[in-house]
Symmetry: C2
Amino acid sequence: MKKIKIKCWVEDEGEKFYGPGPNELLKRIQKEGSLSRAATKMGMSYKKAWELVQRLNQHADVPLVILKKGGQHGGGAEITPQGLEIIREFESFQRKIDQLVDQQTDLMKLLK
Amino acid sequence: MKKIKIKCWVEDEGEKFYGPGPNELLKRIQKEGSLSRAATKMGMSYKKAWELVQRLNQHADVPLVILKKGGQHGGGAEITPQGLEIIREFESFQRKIDQLVDQQTDLMKLLK
DNA sequence: TTGCGATATATACGTATATACATAACGCTT
DNA sequence: AAGCGTTATGTATATACGTATATATCGCAA
């Protein structure tokens, strides 16, 4: 079945640093409390996940994710309140876009 | 400067066949009257452009591009009325999306 | 029938991206 | 001091992608 797809992200000087991937990663970090487990569960390599977190924190006034190493459980990861807010805003934007996509019946009629 | 970017396309069973690239190609074909010139001018290889046209025509009830080979000028390419309509509809959709993007000030405030 | 300019098509190559792997560093607990 | 699980980081490998290159095909004109 044919369908319109749309993808949005935030970039700075051509460097993407927030989009569907980072957004899902943040949500999984919140649930798992661990960057490695979050990455593994969404099929992303740990290295890539770690790099995403670096870029994310670099582009926010306040860190969105706090990574801790060592300690009782070996370390861990947690999302800051600002991180949670980004997730909410991004998904709210996504829903608005989805509504707009659903209205594009004229374009779809021209294709099979 | 940071900015929200958005990209939309139409796909069928995961195969993308219309988006910003094909849209620009169609416009250039109309201007140039030739697929090879259109591709060259937008920095796209002829092969890729030719494949795009095949996919495009395959996913419309009526061909969007007509390719002619041989003849006085060696051949050429032209856009059908349906092709022109697709361009109009796609760009109208793009403008609506751009408006929505401009309204997302809350998301941008969280990032630097 | 030869030449021209465009479309049509296959193959080889180079590059960029991501993954896999290996290893180090860390800090609490026992 | 040893062990544990996690974060931190470099390197090598694989793979997908686009591009470059080469060649064939077509139909009108001279």
